[in-house]
């Protein structure tokens, strides 16, 4: 009767698991689950810098008084912030499981996470099912709230349509001549969507531009020799790429060695984050964005957010010996948003730790300041943020030994994001109706 | 002489530059016991392999039961009634002796192996036991193949081949790998079992004592050809056979 013996084993496991009770956070602590990439390709570009920035901010908040108003109060509404961090690598299946574990086993008060669009699509239904307050802090796909609607899920960063619309607008506003263009994007949803957005925006702004070729090398391909040959042969005036991380670095190293940047204008939708690594190997004159007014563009902006931005910038540089790029900026805007929402909810409920319902009610339609500008939860019935964006041109400053962004153009959030109630694909196809540009 | 059960006409087979079979023609009457002799590489096993489908002849006919089976798959030929044993007993090493028999029984049961019927069902085990007893190896039924002696392995190999409806049994060196003092008892056992089932037997053998004692007719192979085809006494005294096969003084 081996079957029943195994049955015994099973029963024992079942019981053991049943007993292992989790520890819920005390009332004076606000426990957040943070999910971001700690391994794989996205770790160095997004996950690790994002959490480096996040950890820094959490420490500063827990200490209290380190930041300018309105963020000078300790923690979240006086509660100490405690973070549990989970690696995002491993695919959406794993993430749904980990999400349940965070909420049900670790009993976190809020979840902040997800760089990968696949994870951002998979998690929200579960978040609603579990009534778990969740902030998507980084991922780009517009589909999250265009194909679905969720009560407890919020995205505190603008979706990716903005990146490529801004890029096309930048070309137009700088009177850049584009008789033809080509694309080299990673072969997965991010690259495919970015290319579709870019061609969609170009069709409106440069209706006569010819698409020479659309290359989709495999994610993590490493070798771009053949693709670069194809781009050199086709002679487009502009090459668009939404590559990131190692794929972007590899492409740039190989493309510049073969002079592609001298024969075609390179336009990178999300390219700022490779600057700290490439330094002067990043050629001058590349048009690039940072998926928001992040990194160098935020540093160059000044204005009334300068104090907040500089505080975070200096603290980051002091701690990690490099300047913050887009990823920490997005983590910061999520955490500042969460802090604002928690404190708003506590003002309404008399100062106790807010429930998921109270948090969701507070977050809906909220707006707050972050180093990356004013974040407004303006879309998807108050669940999806819009934010301003900036595109600039790279220029190496040999005197300071630093890369600078010149000719930066700042775009109002409502100029590069679709209006409420309109899908981004329709918005592109109809020629940006309702866009408010200066 | 009974009517022919197997008729082989002009079989040819070459492997690259080596001629393994050349103009092989044989007629085997029903119920006969034939032996094949020849030195290594003379073409005996190639002949067995061609008849049982392991090797496809380049040309020629193998007529069995009104049809040409040359080039058919071993599975099809087995199903038609030509079974074989092997120089190295082909057994399932991770199964017990009984289970090996049950495999054979399952395949030949009707209407073929079932997805539901237990392999160890009572009737099948009874049939398996009966066959094992016929070959005097029932006492080993719970042992695994690697624990068996060479002789028992050979017997099991043949017993498995006998599970179906056998018309012709081809034994490839039935006594190789068998201890010297076991050879005759084993051959007695096998030949009794086969004769009582009315099976035509063709066996490959190096031991001339066994050849003379058990076969009615001998085919001597040399260089891919049959150089003699006659009663044992005639063949063994043939000078050509003595020179090329048996090596006995003329």
């Amino acid at each position: 009767m081996m079957k029943s013996r195994i049955g015994g084993l099973l029963a024992a496991t079942t019981l053991a698991v049943g007993m292992a009770g989790p520890a819920a956070a005390a009332d004076d602590t606000f426990k957040i689950g943070v999910i971001t990439f700690l391994s794989g390709q996205a770790a160095e570009s997004f996950g690790v810098p994002a959490w480096n920035g996040g950890k820094l901010l959490v420490d500063m908040l827990n200490e209290g008084g380190k930041l300018p108003a309105p963020y000078d109060k300790m923690g979240f509404g006086g509660m100490k912030i405690e973070a549990v961090i989970v690696d995002e690598a491993g695919g959406a299946t794993k993430q749904v499981q980990e999400f349940r574990n965070l909420v049900q086993r670790e009993e976190v008060d809020a979840v902040v996470g997800y760089v990968s669009s696949g994870d951002c699509l998979a998690v929200p239904p579960v978040a609603d099912e579990l009534k778990a307050f969740t902030i998507l802090y980084d991922c780009g796909t517009p589909r999250v709230f265009e194909d679905g609607s969720y009560e407890y899920v919020f995205r505190t960063a603008a979706h990716a349509t903005m990146d490529n619309v801004s890029l096309a607008r930048y070309l137009k506003s700088r009177d850049f001549d584009v008789p033809s263009f080509a694309g080299l994007n990673q072969d997965y949803a991010w690259g495919q969507d970015s290319w579709a957005d870019f061609t969609g925006a170009m069709k409106q702004l440069y209706p006569d531009a010819e698409v020479k070729t659309a290359l989709f090398p495999k994610f993590g391909a490493g070798q771009y020799g053949t693709e670069i040959s194809a781009l050199l042969r086709e002679k487009p005036a502009l090459v668009h790429s939404s590559n990131w991380g190692g794929d972007l670095q590899g492409f740039l190293i190989q493309a510049t060695a073969r002079g592609l940047h001298k024969r075609a204008q390179l336009a990178l939708a999300a390219g700022d984050h490779v600057i700290p690594q490439l330094q002067d190997k990043m050629p001058d004159g590349i048009f690039l964005g940072a998926r928001g007014v992040n990194g160098l563009a935020a540093y160059a902006r000044g204005g009334e957010l300068k104090q907040l931005t500089d505080t975070m910038w200096d603290a980051y540089e002091a701690e990690y010996n490099t300047f913050p790029v887009q990823a920490p900026f997005r983590m910061w805007q999520a955490l500042f948003g969460l802090k604002t929402a928690v404190e708003k909810a506590m003002a309404d409920n008399g100062g106790t730790k807010p429930t998921s319902e109270e948090l969701a009610a507070a977050m809906k339609g909220l707006s707050w300041d972050a180093p990356s500008g004013r974040i407004e939860m303006a879309l998807a019935d108050g669940h999806q943020a819009i934010q301003p964006n900036a595109i600039g041109t790279t220029k190496w400053n040999a005197d300071t030994g630093k890369m600078e962004l010149v000719d930066v153009e700042y775009y109002d959030a409502r100029c590069v994001n679709p209006p409420e109630g309109m899908k981004s694909q329709d918005w592109l196809a109809q020629g940006f109706p309702g866009a408010e540009c200066d | 002489m009974n009517k022919a059960v197997l008729e082989v006409r002009d079989l040819q087979k070459t492997f690259g530059a080596v001629t393994a079979a050349q103009d092989i023609s044989v007629t085997v009457p029903e119920g006969a016991v034939y032996s094949l002799i020849g030195s290594n590489g003379a073409g005996k096993t190639t002949f067995v392999n061609m008849v049982t489908g392991y090797i496809k002849p380049d040309s020629g006919l193998i007529n069995f039961g009104n049809r040409n089976i040359a080039g058919m798959a071993p599975r099809q030929i087995t199903r038609l009634g030509i079974h074989r044993s092997f120089q190295i007993a082909q057994l399932c090493a991770e199964l017990t002796v009984e289970e090996n028999m049950l495999v054979a029984d399952a395949i030949h049961g009707h209407p073929g192996p079932s997805f539901l019927r237990r392999a160890h069902n009572a009737e099948a085990r009874e049939r398996a036991l009966a066959t094992l007893e016929r070959f005097h190896i029932a006492e080993h039924r719970d042992r695994l193949v690697p624990e068996l002696s060479g002789g028992v392995k050979k017997l099991l190999d043949i017993a498995m081949a006998m599970a179906g409806e056998t018309q012709i049994m081809m034994l490839d060196e039935p006594t190789s790998g068998v201890a010297a003092d076991e050879k005759f008892p084993i051959m007695d056992l096998v030949m009794d079992a086969l004769r009582s089932a009315g099976v035509t037997v063709i066996f490959v053998e190096h031991d001339m004592d066994i050849v003379t004692r058990y076969s009615e007719r001998v085919l001597a192979f040399y260089d891919g050809r049959i150089i003699a085809d006659d009663a044992p006494g005639e063949v063994l005294s043939d000078p050509e056979v003595q020179r090329y096969v048996t090596g006995a003084p003329a």
Binding site: L38, S39, G40, Q41, A43, E44, V48, D187, T213, A214, L215, F216, P217, K218, F219, G220, A221, G222, Q223, G225, T226, E227, S229, A230, L232, R233, G245, G246, Q249, G250, I253, Q254, A257, R258, G259, V274, Q277, L278, K281 | N49, Y54, F86, Q87, I88, Q90, D172
Partner: protein, 300 residues
């Protein structure tokens, strides 16, 4: 330049790289009968080691003679082979000889998982760059296209590696013994060959070749975590196409994959992802054991 010529040049460059990363895999399989998933990790470690060594070379004043960085790259690969080869083969793999092939794939899969994190522990997640060797050899202008001289150096390296492996196997005593072991390890054991040493040697050679592939690639990419995953699947495909354990097979497989991939990028970019599997499926359909596999009839 003529499209066909461009495809050929691009294909050859890619094939050169493919050959270097897959020949070690096929060698290890031939001798040890282990299909090593961790080959990809060894490639990545080679890349990291090369980046570190070249970085150290320039930090120690290598600017004066930049070509020395190539020596540093090869030394890095050698170092990886000398450290990890014995560690993995003597410390782990030898306990699995003769076990099921597929089980051994899982063993190396475990090694792959472990090495992925070990790399992170040693080198962190930040990328490493060493571009100097990549631009050192200047440009090559072919028609309207520019290539980097380094690309052709990789082809040359592949040819040198191929010739070296072929000559060692066929023209030296040790090589002939290795071939005998590839053919039948049991038989060579009875013939008195010290199979253990052959196994260790072959695994170290395989490790060296994997690391060399990584070392040569390091200057043209940013060396980041997750580098090994993508290499292993293409290397598998090449080796399967060529026939497991066959060195000429790896060369032909690399050429087939390299050129058909280049053709696809130029002519039909949307098919690039499938082309490798397509070539592999076609080859296996007609030659189930790959192009150059040893087919042995079983004696019964």
């Amino acid at each position: 330049m003529d499209l066909a010529a461009t495809i050929l040049v691009d294909g050859l460059i890619y094939a050169g790289w493919l050959f270097i990363v897959s020949v070690g895999l096929t060698l290890v399989f031939g001798v040890l009968n282990i299909l090593n998933i961790a080959h990809g990790s060894l490639y990545a470690i080679g890349a990291y080691a090369s980046a570190s060594m070249v970085g150290a070379y320039f930090a120690l004043g290598g600017e004066a003679f930049p070509y020395g960085s190539y020596v540093a790259m090869i030394l890095a690969a050698l170092l990886v082979a000398l450290v990890l080869g014995p560690l993995l083969e003597r410390g782990l793999l030898r306990f699995f000889y003769g076990r099921d092939e597929v089980l051994n794939v899982l063993v190396t899969y475990a090694v792959f998982l472990i090495l992925e994190d070990v790399m992170k522990l040693i080198w962190g997640v930040n990328p490493y760059f060493v571009y100097e060797p990549y631009t050192l050899l200047g440009d090559v202008e072919i028609g309207p296209l520019f290539y980097v001289g380094y690309d052709f150096a990789v082809i040359a390296a592949a040819i040198v590696v191929g010739l070296a492996v072929w000559l060692t196997l066929n023209k030296t005593r040790v090589g002939k013994v290795v071939l005998a072991v590839i053919h039948d390890s049991e038989m060579s054991q009875t013939m008195g060959v010290n199979v253990q040493r052959i196994y260790l040697g072959a695994f170290m050679a395989g490790t060296f070749l994997a690391a060399l592939g990584g070392a040569l690639t390091a200057p043209m990419i940013s060396v980041t975590p997750g580098l090994g995953v993508n290499v292993i699947i293409v290397a598998f495909a090449v080796v399967i196409i060529g026939g497991l354990g066959s060195v000429p097979g790896a060369a032909i497989g690399a050429l087939m994959v390299g050129i058909s991939r280049a053709a696809s990028v130029h002519l039909m970019p949307e098919a690039e992802l499938f082309i490798i599997y397509f070539v592999m499926a076609i080859v296996l359909l007609f030659r189930p054991e790959g192009l150059f596999a040893k087919t042995q009839a079983r004696k019964i």
